[in-house]
């Protein structure tokens, strides 16, 4: 089997993800048609539900915020050729970090101190939860994929144990902490915008979105403009070369996993500080796993991750609308569409490379032949 032919960069980064998404939508459309609905109508409902209806854009961006954090987490690790499947657990533990900080200090510190502290705590908890598998990989040779998966289960168990036990608010049945005071809240975007006199519909979109965008800039600077990023990429591309260069490979692996875990952990601020204002059970609801697809689709680049996050955010939000509008299309149907997109942009990411390369080759040949005749 020969390797897939090389595509020009613009086609690889721009065209291929687009074709993958279209392919997934076509297949989804067929499924919608099979259950007796009009796929184009469904598509319109999804687009309207994600972008047009009042407040829908806010919801889309709110979901996208989660995906940006978890997608960045996967991407950073991937630059060191580490496959961090543990975003879910790291985000979950991040929620613990943020929650503990707020529980301890929400009557003590004002928001300007408490919120940054809680953000740092969520990042640190996630970082530790990422660094432990990193350490096990670097020093003990345990494969990172296995350990990060297992750490998801560990995180889930720890959180159930704590939220149903020590952290449960007294006098209530649900496994969650007490609500934090207003000092721990990240402001909603619609509140901020309304304060400037611009009308904006209510949505859970909060300042975490801005933090997520800053994190994208941070990751870009880290990977492509810092010496540490150089060492991370060198380790990822060639361990032999990194060793030859005197780059401490084990240390880099641990640091990279800590950064990756920290980014995943920061996903918690969107849910905990931004929306729930308490730590609840299962708030990560699979965002950590979807981050893998986001990073894959975004080609591990912050800009790609933002775009992929928007797509997945729109799918989540538009999908909910779909569920609402059509009695035959259920929540499971929406999951199917998401699954198809993950399948086409993740599992079958390179399926269209070869045909596209052939097509481009033919087009170029035709053009040069034409040019040859003219010239």
């Amino acid at each position: 089997m020969t390797p897939p032919p090389a595509l020009p960069r613009w086609a690889d980064v721009g065209l291929i993800p687009l074709i993958n998404v279209l392919a997934a939508l076509v297949v989804s459309g067929i499924v919608v048609a099979v259950i007796g609905e009009n796929p184009f109508e469904a598509m319109m409902v999804m687009i309207k539900g994600a972008f047009v209806y009042k407040g829908s854009l806010g919801y889309t961006l709110y979901y996208a915020t989660n995906f940006i954090f978890t997608g960045l987490a996967v991407a950073v690790a991937f630059h060191a050729m580490l496959f961090n499947i543990g975003g879910e657990g790291q985000a979950y533990l991040g929620g613990l970090g943020a929650g503990l900080t707020c529980l301890m200090f929400d009557s003590m510190f004002p928001a300007l101190i408490l919120v940054p502290l809680a953000i740092m705590a969520s990042a640190s908890f996630g970082a530790v939860w990422g660094a432990i598998p990193g350490y096990l990989q670097a020093k003990r040779g345990s494969h990172i994929v296995i350990t990060t998966i297992m750490f998801n289960f560990l995180a889930a168990s720890i959180m159930v144990w704590l939220l149903a036990g020590r952290l449960k608010a007294p006098g209530q049945m649900s496994p969650e902490t007490r609500s934090f005071s207003a000092n721990a809240e990240l402001p909603f975007i619609h509140d901020i915008v309304n304060a400037f006199g611009v009308e904006m519909a209510r949505s859970p979109l909060n300042l975490s979105f801005v933090v997520a965008l800053l994190a994208c800039v941070g990751v870009w600077v880290l990977i492509w403009r810092s010496r540490l990023g150089y060492a991370i990429r060198a380790t990822g591309h060639s361990t032999g070369a990194a060793e030859y260069a005197g780059i401490p490979v084990s240390t880099i692996i641990i640091i990279t996993m800590a950064i990756s875990g920290g980014l995943a952990g920061m996903m918690a601020i969107n849910e905990i500080l931004g929306v729930q204002h308490r730590t609840i059970l299962g708030f990560t609801s699979g965002y950590g796993f979807t981050g893998i697809a986001v990073a894959l689709m975004g080609r591990n680049h912050p800009i790609g991750i933002i775009l992929a996050s928007l797509l997945f955010g729109a799918l989540y939000q538009g999908g909910a609308e779909l569920d609402f509008e059509f009695s035959t299309i259920t929540r499971e149907m929406v999951l199917l569409i998401q699954g198809l997109i993950i399948l086409f942009s993740g599992g079958l990411a390179f399926m269209f490379n070869r045909p596209l390369a052939h097509l481009l080759g033919l087009l170029l040949a035709a053009r040069s032949a034409k040019g040859g005749q003219n010239g």
Partner: protein
């Protein structure tokens, strides 16, 4: 398509083959006629398009245009399966063997011919035995391939091709990984194959091999066929000129060395693996300013490990070496970063695995090992524009082509990749340069340039430790030559004492005691 009456039967005829990769026109109107039963060499520099051409012939790439005829019949070769079906076999530069399979299992892999492994193994075994007998290719079919020396692994590759009924055998740079002795054996095998009527297409960039073994030779340069010659009627000088398009100096302008103070002294260095194999035994040596010390030896006798230890990649298990005032021992190991800061630069043996990072831009590969930010260019951040400016300067100094700092390292030819490594290591003005296989897989023009750079560096007072499997290179560059065998230094020769025969004997470990000369090895020299 019948051939003309007077011409000999052609095993392969390629006409007007074209192949482009993006902007790179790898093969331009290439024609080739290989006479049946001949050993036909294709020689050319790295990047001349040799490998592309045979990849087209073997079905790895499809040609953009052109015709392929095998045994007089025009054919389409779309996959390697098509090539195999037409009796073409290929021995790749990097072997395609399953390391933990036996020889027999490797040979029959993909050609079992029946559902029962047992039955096909039996059939394959008798076929393999017959092949081994017919062609004098003795290999124990039940030995695990990874336990075989490289030369025998290659033999398995050849057997694999013959087992699939190959009558035309393509060998791509077959001697790159072989010791001189193994190369000799390979040539004997190739002669035997020719006697049996096998047509052989030999791809190489080594003039010596072409002269030694081929009947005909075709020269490629810059994607074009520039000449088809009868080997008996040409000379290495003519071929070299055709390859590079100009006359080349095969000898280096070597002046008398003026060794100064010791830069590095090693005392009884030992390296023992976890399972108790001694890779280095009591190595003591002194390297002085302004001299090139060559290390000759059959590859795999400890030279690579010596470089790894002296560059800090591996810690010695016993003994010590001193660089400047720093003493590195098993108890106090060092690392490559520290040794670099002490002025030890290192051109690694395997540039693809260590020397550069293929997907990195040239500018990024140009700071590999110097990226930590200690010293002159400190701080947390890297400025791409600064890297690119520096890289552009180095590219000019070292004539690296194309002079594009942003181009991915993988897109440079072997010689230019090696120049990137050399430019990086030399421009730090090291006190000691460790060099492994500086010209492996590098074309003649670049070899000449690299040799000149090494001599110039020596003349500026740098100590150079040169490890190479090319005896010519060792002899033409070194002021002193150390010979390694089985992890030990078995002797030292001065430049004038060294000749191929003497070195060969020492390398083989034969009569080592007899050939150690007055200028004894060790720290006191």
């Amino acid at each position: 398509m019948a051939n003309g009456d007077s011409t000999p039967p052609l095993a392969i005829e390629l006409s007007a083959i074209n192949k482009s990769f993006g902007d790179v026109h790898a093969n331009m109107d290439v024609n080739l006629k290989v006479v049946s039963g001949h050993i036909h060499g294709i020689i050319g520099e790295n990047g001349a398009g040799k490998s592309t051409l045979v990849s087209i012939l073997y079905g790895f790439y499809a040609a953009d245009s052109g015709l392929i005829s095998i045994n007089g019949q025009t054919t389409m070769i779309r996959h390697s399966a098509d090539a195999i079906a037409r009796g073409i076999g290929m021995v790749h530069q990097h072997f395609m063997l399953v390391p933990n399979f036996t020889v027999l299992e490797n040979v029959m892999l993909g050609h079992e011919g029946s559902l029962s492994v047992e039955a096909s193994a039996q059939k394959a075994r008798s076929a393999l035995n017959k092949l081994s007998e017919d062609f004098g290719l003795a290999v124990d079919p039940d030995i695990i391939v990874e336990n075989l020396p490289v030369g025998l692994q290659q033999r398995v590759e050849i057997l694999k091709a013959l087992f699939r009924g190959a009558e035309i055998l393509i060998l791509d740079e077959p001697t790159g990984v072989l010791t001189p002795q193994e190369t000799e054996q390979l040539f004997e095998i190739l002669h035997a194959l020719r006697e049996e009527g096998v047509t052989i297409l030999l791809i190489t960039h080594k003039l010596k091999e072409i002269m030694a073994i081929t009947d005909d030779v075709s020269v490629m340069r810059g994607g074009k066929m520039v000449a088809h010659l009868e080997t008996a009627r040409t000379s290495p000088a003519e071929l070299a000129e055709l390859m590079v398009g100009r006359k080349v100096l095969l000898e280096v302008d070597h002046t008398q060395a003026k060794p100064g103070v010791p830069v590095m002294q090693a005392q009884n260095l030992c390296l023992t693996t976890a399972n108790g194999i001694d890779q280095l035994k009591d190595i003591s040596l002194t390297l002085r300013e302004g001299e090139i010390v060559g290390v000759a030896g059959v590859s795999g006798n400890g030279q690579s490990e010596l470089l790894d230890v002296l560059s800090g990649i591996t810690a010695p298990t016993d003994g010590s070496f001193r660089v400047g005032t720093s003493e590195i021992t098993a108890q106090q190991p060092s690392d490559p970063a520290q040794l670099r800061s002490l002025g030890v630069a290192h051109v690694p043996e395997d540039r693809h695995k260590c020397g550069i990072i293929l997907p990195f831009s040239a500018a990024e590969s140009m700071i590999l090992g110097y990226s930590s930010g200690d010293g002159q260019n400190g701080g947390w951040w890297l400025s791409p524009s600064e890297l690119e400016t520096n890289c552009a300067d180095r590219m000019q100094d070292f004539d690296i082509r194309p002079p594009l700092p942003k181009l991915a390292s993988a897109n440079f030819s072997g010689g230019n990749q090696q120049k990137i490594v050399l430019a990086r290591e030399i421009s730090t003005q090291p006190k000691l340069l460790l060099v492994g296989q500086p010209t492996r897989g590098v074309d003649i023009g670049a070899i000449e340039f690299i040799h000149k750079q090494l001599i110039a560096l020596r003349n500026k007072g740098c100590a150079i430790l040169l490890v190479s499997v090319e005896l010519d290179e060792i002899m033409s560059l070194s002021d002193r030559i150390l010979v390694m065998n089985n992890g030990q230094m078995v002797g030292e020769l001065t430049r004038d004492e060294a000749d191929e025969q003497r070195l060969g004997l020492m390398m083989a470990g034969i009569g080592a005691d007899d050939v150690v000369t007055a200028s004894q090895m060790g720290a006191k020299s």
